[in-house]
Amino acid sequence: MTTPPLNAKRAGVSLTQDAIRRLSKNLTAMISFAVLVVVVGLAVLTPLLPLQPPDRDLTAQMFAEPTAERLFEKTFNFDPQVNAVARERLPAALEKRGVRQAELKSLLADAKRTPEAESQSRRNLRQAEAAIVALEQRAYASVGYPHLGPLSRWMVRTRHALFGEWQLASVCGRDKLGRDLLSRIFWGARVSLIVGVVATLVSLAIGVTWGSVAGYVGGSVDNLMMRIVDVLYSVPFVFLVIFLISILSEDRVKDALAGYGIDRITIFYFVVGAIYWLTMARVVRGQVVSLRNEPFIEAARSIGVSQTAIIFRHIVPNLLSIVVVYLTLTIPRVILFEAFLSFLGLGVEPPDVSWGLLANEGIQVITPIKIYWWLILFPSLAIGVTLFALNFLGDAIRDAFDPRLKGR
């Protein structure tokens, strides 16, 4: 018997392939995708671009209006010489830290140590570490960069090698301390986007695990787990998070947490992740319940595959499409939430910048005498365009994965 060629062709199209095909035909979705690629790309490459350093304050040019007279100016006075000098001193500082570490270690091994001696030793170690950071950052901090990681430092050096002292003039104006707004928007994008992605991934991990366990185990465990989700759903998390963050940013708590290397942004990832997992858990559970009765799961169980392996090897991969849909819908909500908290002064703290903080600064300086419209317009445009693109793409992906529309 021969199969009709038409059917043979259609049989090979999986839901994912079909969704991607349909998505690529959706013009607005593709434009949104392109916009997002550009935004993310620029955010990643920010230190490489000839922008003014974001913390460089020029009080003489406070609230300078946007200018288009000249696009570039020769004012980037990064000095690689400073960096070279600092590098020469780095081995000595590293050695000192090693000594301090050894001191602390031997002190901790001593049972008869006094608390004073221990805290003194810890303080010495912290000082030695701070000295290293100061040496590493010196050349960058002196021209107005925030704390930079190794990759960003390399990018700044490359930028100096490429563009020399040339940098973009403040085409978007300057803020109340004379800092360049355009560069602050770019640096803010890095924080806002990272918060959006990482917090969403945290919520993903919690939600998928919770939902798949509840759905797969079933019975009273499922009932209990979902009741917990129900109760948490009716908790107004926005308020609880604000409450939590205000407690966690108390100086004493902050110091205690900083000892473990946890800063406010890290806390933020987990707090936000801990809120947005609820919907994910519900959706995933629903999908798992319907998957559990599929023959291939039964087959796996009959040949003795363990419960954990069934969940993570057979069920989780089948949840991929639904998870991708909720992922794209959650990211803009998280970015919005970060902006909301930063706007209230409870999110990202200066000297870090994020889009919510920039919007807040713009609204703060509204006075009846003069409006600094650029401080509101440009950060808002950045938030607006990004969230617009994310929402559009999220909706389009959801439609593309909708099985009712398959093949259309």
Binding site: D230, S234, A256, W373, L387, N391
Partner: protein, 304 residues
């Protein structure tokens, strides 16, 4: 139906208890306790303050006393401004309530006509334009909308005052900023609902017997198309209530949201905790009321 309400109230109590317990222990987790202040107090005064707030008792007893206090309806008192939270609530709730109601009214007054027009004129320029505006409204945070609205209406057109509380003029702009995203959602939902109804048989019949387009849309299609819009009321009320801190902050409105943000910034934990509990109760009650109203509007709904 009574069973339904009773069950929901039990769940509300459980939720309130969870929120209470969470915030109680969070608050106590702060080293030195919530009543420690920056300046050093005389030992006697400090002991007095600790006794006043039951801090000299063991933790489980403090928990029990606080739980009894909250259960009797007393939300405690602010440590920073020495005012009972109940008084702040009785002053702030009417303000926030008025703002929220007006925002809700604006959301539906703008959203409904926009949704209906774009459904009736499906595929035309008006439809595309309205739905694009709706997507913008959903994507933009309300503080961004507020920034633009202040520039436009306060400084360029000089129609409205920038901030404050007291007159209707001062209420319009904040209510618009608060309601704008929900107007966008309402427009989308109304459009989808209307499109569903317009393709049904009874609409074809109404058209066939020669009714004018206006009568078909308003008298025959609209009532059915309203149902999904009404069911959006619950999320909209919740969203408007949670969105109000930002708007109240921008426009300096002395409502509950403003007090809440102030208490969080001033680390006034007892007040923040009282307001969190209040918000939980309010949101739950609102959702319950909305759920009950479905049953009145849609006879197919059964309470389970």
């Amino acid at each position: 139906m009574i069973g339904f309400i009773a069950r929901r109230l039990v769940w509300m109590l459980i939720t309130l208890w969870v929120v209470f317990t969470l915030s109680f222990f969070l608050m106590r987790a702060v080293p030195g306790g919530p009543y420690a202040s920056d300046r050093q107090l005389e030992p006697e005064i400090e002991a007095n303050i600790r006794r006043e707030f039951n801090l000299d008792k063991p933790l489980y007893e403090q928990y029990w006393l606080k739980l009894k206090q909250v259960a009797s309806g007393d939300l405690g008192s602010s440590t920073k401004i020495r005012t009972p939270v109940n008084r702040i609530v009785s002053e702030g709730l009417p303000v926030s309530g008025a703002l929220g109601l007006l925002a809700l009214a604006i959301a539906f007054a703008i959203g409904l006509p926009a949704g209906i027009i774009s459904a009736v004129a499906r595929g035309t320029f008006a439809d595309v334009a309205l739905m694009s505006i709706a997507t913008i409204g959903i994507a933009l945070p309300n503080f961004v909308v507020a920034g633009f609205a202040i520039i436009l209406f306060v400084f360029v057109l000089e129609w409205l005052p920038a901030a404050g509380w007291g007159s209707l003029e001062q209420l319009v702009l904040p209510a618009f900023c608060l309601g704008a995203p929900y107007a966008a959602y309402v427009a989308r939902i109304a459009r989808t609902g209307m499109l569903d109804v317009l393709s049904q048989d009874h609409i074809r019949t109404a058209r066939a017997k020669g009714l004018g387009p206006l009568s078909v849309v308003l008298r025959h299609a609209l009532p059915t198309a309203m149902l999904p819009v009404v069911s959006f009321l619950g999320p909209a009320v919740a969203g408007i209530m949670t969105g109000s801190p930002v708007v109240e902050q921008i426009f300096a409105i002395p409502g509950l949201g403003w007090h809440f943000v102030q208490s969080a910034i001033n680390r006034d934990y007892p007040m923040a905790m009282g307001l969190v509990l209040l918000y939980t109760g309010l949101l739950y009650t609102m959702n319950l009321l909305v759920d009950l109203s479905y049953g009145l509007l849609d006879p197919r709904v059964e309470w389970d």
